[in-house]
Symmetry: C2
Subunit: 197 residues, 2 copies
């Protein structure tokens, strides 16, 4: 019963990206695993082997890189219902190009990337699901690119809040400020400024 209910909620997860028939979902069901990640754990490490696709069932995660000065730069945030960047865009020669970290405790759905790809080839709905994930990834990167190019830091913070507001009270601020392209001191100033009205 518990398992059944869990499958229902996982089906909902995919449906939010692209509605799937019972047949397609049952094919996916045969190849995924549930994984629990503790808060702060870096569950995908740069340059390390990785051959999975991931969906976030509950919790928040981020992707990040370390720049030449040794600072961690957050590239994207992920929340419940999001797919992580597709394996093909996230790895080169099966090694990860980025780090991914749990920002809260996280429940992940994990697929073997090759098995998922095979399902994409044989099943139109799953192919469309995969392509929708890819599209979402590029759209969110394009939106961020556009925001960085044409909005002020204050506007970008307001945009971040509308999508991930709750995170601001859960995680260290340098994680957010590096995403916004500003220092944590500037973030603190903007927070104060917005609060004053």
């Amino acid at each position: 019963m518990t398992a059944r209910k869990e499958n229902e909620s996982i089906k909902e997860l995919f449906n939010k990206i692209l509605p799937l028939s019972e047949v397609s979902f049952s094919k996916l069901k045969t190849i995924f695993n549930s994984v629990s990640i503790k808060k702060d754990e870096v569950f995908i490490k740069i340059d390390q082997k990785n051959n999975s696709e991931y969906f976030i069932e509950t919790g928040f995660a981020r992707s990040f890189l370390v720049n030449p000065e040794g600072e961690e730069i957050t590239l994207s945030f992920y929340k419940s219902g999001n797919a992580l960047s597709p394996h093909i865009t996230r790895t080169k020669l099966n090694k990860s190009l980025l780090n991914f970290q749990a920002l809260t405790s996280v429940e992940l759905i994990e697929f073997d990337a090759d098995q998922f790809l095979n399902l994409m080839i044989e099943n139109l709905e799953i192919r469309n699901l995969g392509n929708a994930i890819l599209l979402n990834e590029l759209i969110s990167k394009t939106e961020k690119e556009m925001a960085l190019a044409s909005l002020t830091a204050k506007e970008r913070l307001i945009g971040f809040r509308s999508e991930f507001g709750i995170l601001e009270n859960l995680i260290a601020h340098p994680i957010i400020s590096s995403y916004l392209g500003i220092t944590n001191v500037s973030l603190s100033r903007l927070r104060n400024e917005i609060a004053k009205g």
Copy 2:
């Protein structure tokens, strides 16, 4: 003879992305067209129907959006040998999400996106080619994201020059400055500063 030679150079174009066998290339050959675009022409317009994949044979192009203030924001530059963003990431319901403009006279290789997709499904090499294009797209966006988050405008200009240097003398500077996330006046200052040493 001319046609033959042209095919050779087009094969070279794909080989730079991912080497193809003669068999795979001949399959591609049956579905592509060569297209000439005049300098400044916007050959893909936002919100308009588009169902093609593109490769740049010669010349330079850019993608751009118009922000709420009416300013054109350049998102990416493309040069000879580049594929444009894949159709799947560039369109929604077959309508373009971005504008694409020729910055010089441009020779394009154009594929019908559905026909290209069918070849990807039936042919492993072409599938790998398509995936390599996708990967390159994400990598270049990630690199730009990282540069905007952690480099100064001067460092970003130096990076732009190493990849597209010649463009700086061919196109209007606001096209470049919006890509770098600064005003054209700031770009002029940086140019002067770098020139002085």
